[in-house]
Amino acid sequence: MSASDKAGTGLDEPGDKKPKINLNRVEMPKQSPGERKHNFEEVATGYTVEMAMEEARRCIQCKKRNCQQGCPVNIDIPDFIRSLQQGDVESASRILKSKTSLPGICGRVCPQELQCEHACSLNKKGAPIAIGRLERFIADWERMEGAVSTPEIAPSTGKCVAVVGTGPSGLTVASDLAIRGHRVTMFEALHVAGGVLMYGIPEFRLPKEIVQREVQYVASLGVDIRLDTVIGINYSLDELLNTKYHAVYLATGAGLPQFLRVPGENLNMIYSANEFLTRTNLMKAYLYPEYATPVKMGKRVAVIGGGNVAMDSARCAVRLGARDVYIIYRRTRQEMPARFEEVENAEEEGIHFHFLCSPTGFISDGRNNVAAMELIRMQLGEPDASGRRRPVPIPGSEYVLDVDTVVVSLGTSPNPLLASTTPDLETSRRGTVIVGEGGRTSKARVWAGGDIVSGGATVISAMGEGRLAASSMHAFLSDSKR
């Protein structure tokens, strides 16, 4: 477990009376690679009460709350850990949920190693407190106990808010504003709420039941969720603003898949990661034919890209029965945007990594199915705009890799549907919505956040932007109450 295994010898200095701090975190049980390769059940099975208490006891309750500052939604981390230390999971849960409505999700998919855990004081000497695992434990405990606490909801303000998109950012805004007494309606184009949490992140990383529980929790705050409704088609943004809604939050995500633009890319069995994951996760193709949507896959699968979505696609392919799965990435391991933990999980599951190579074309089997891909080797040149060294093709280094399925995971850009039907909404060249402070867009009474603004980031950053936008929207709605 790499970072978590940073064994230390103790902070105790000679003559110090304080109890010795354990610099090793409590490991979270995981399914073994050999086992988990054959199922879609969650890889990490979560802390038991005893494990959670033991881990919580490692926290030294610093005066300076670095961890809290490292959290994009400012969770009172030392406080919920103190409750855990005292064995009071219920109050830990209340503290947690005063800042997030999605603890079961955040505890699983946040990159804590870059945020709260990175800021943890223990991180200087040993393994930081496993804040994410504790958060997950509390959320799961509450779910198992069945005693879901809901915060006090402010008296109705009579103001109506529309939230477009039911992903992490939209859910955060909806719950924040519902708690403050506004009447919130969420619109979802798909047939289930949750956005990327449902269609993108696989079951084995984030069980869909947990997502639906947290969606239902947001609904229980009085939020109306309208599925099968596409804003930009069923209602234009102006129709929302001109009817009953005083303010609108746009959180439609970045759903448009990017392709390589090389010859043969439309051959059969070449998928975008979005299609491959949507079939597998949202439509539950791994349970075909009980669920009606199939996903067709061969035995040699190449996944192109180095992000978390690429890891998710590759690990789905393993579970769907691929014999060989390759990750094709044009830079090296160091530049990979995927979380270290996910890369490690992928490696354990037998996925082969091909670094410093890039596809230049796909070859047909003569019946318009992909049979092989042509690649060119790369070397790293000067740093580009992202600060990473730019990959440069090495002339004459082309080679062929036999594959029968390809998943293209090169990132996504915002779906232009909404912007194209709203001419006065200012967007960037990449199609992202341009916002100012608090997520305000160029259009009056319209805010935006999440991937439609960032172009593609993390669940928690989408929630963080939602939190700021909700405050800004609340200030606006309260002000115009006069």
Partner: protein, 287 residues
């Protein structure tokens, strides 16, 4: 707890020909914005797949939308078993860009299968713009001929192209079209619109290409979400990737490149989801 799941009741379900049905669904939000040439995504039940159907009519006042479908696979067979009063789990739309409607002059419409009904709203809109319409209705045999009256009602002239059993389907509509093209430009054709199988749309596009008569086709590649998210329906138009769900489904048939790839992609899942006895499509990858 607020209502999270909404159901969509079926208000009418008619049998039009063997394996061909018309379903009318109560979906006021969809009916409100529907325009000719758009489609809906239907999910039968919570374990169902998302399947696109081009709409063949709608009634804004009654809040209903109708589409014609052919039983070819798992979901369409499931649909066929439903009765008026039953409910569909999900019904999303109207999706895609509406058909381009303008004054063109003399329009020749070629329709087969579901396209016979789905073309009707487009032809009606053409007619309202003052176009004169010649329709060619293709059916494999008399028994499977349907939609004659509704197509006749929106056409100035209707030509039947009913092949005999065993005859090659894809070419039968081409005979009357060849005749019309033979009289062009003496009796000019200003636009051709085709809705039917991909094979038919391809063949017609190739027939009109030498005459440079604008030919629009309504492409129906496989789709998953139908809102531009998955890219399953991507196709190549003049060398650029386009998604049928958000950039189409109407395209210029002469600008479609890679028909072979398009046909192969269409059949990717034919073996798992199409159980139609004797289903055969020559020249594509899966059959």
């Amino acid at each position: 707890m607020k209502e999270v799941v909404r159901m969509f009741p079926i208000t009418a379900h008619e049998h039009l020909a063997p394996k061909v049905h018309r379903m009318t669904v109560k979906a006021p939000v969809v009916a409100e914005k529907a325009r000719p040439g758009q489609f809906v995504i239907v999910i039968v039940d919570e374990k169902g797949e998302r399947v696109p159907f081009t709409i063949s009519g709608w009634d804004t006042a009654a809040g209903t939308v109708e589409f014609v479908y052919i039983e070819v696979g798992k979901t369409t067979r499931q649909l066929a078993a439903l009765k008026a009063g039953d409910e569909l789990a999900h019904f999303v739309g109207p999706l895609g860009i509406a058909a381009q409607v303008d004054y063109f002059g003399h329009v020749v419409a070629v329709a087969s299968g579901y396209g016979i009904s789905a073309l009707v709203p487009i032809l009606r809109a053409y007619r309202e713009m003052g176009n004169s319409i010649t329709s060619i209705l293709q059916a494999p045999d008399r028994e499977r001929l349907f939609g004659r009256e509704e197509l006749e009602a929106v056409s100035d002239r209707l030509i039947l192209a009913v092949g005999e059993r065993g005859e090659e389907m894809a070419t039968s509509a081409t005979r009357p079209l060849r005749k019309l093209l033979g009289n062009h430009p003496r009796e000019p054709l200003h636009r051709v619109v085709v809705m039917g199988s991909i094979c038919l749309m391809r063949v017609i596009s190739e027939l009109t290409r030498p005459h440079a008569i604008k030919t629009v086709v309504h492409l129906t590649p496989l789709m998953v979400d139908g809102t531009g998210m998955c890219g399953a329906c991507r196709l190549s138009i003049k060398g650029a990737n386009r998604f049928a769900c958000v950039h189409g489904p109407e395209f210029d048939g002469h600008e479609v490149d890679g028909w072979d790839v398009l046909m192969a992609r269409r059949c990717t899942y034919a073996d798992t989801s199409v159980h139609q006895q004797g289903f055969q499509c020559r020249g594509c990858s899966q059959w």
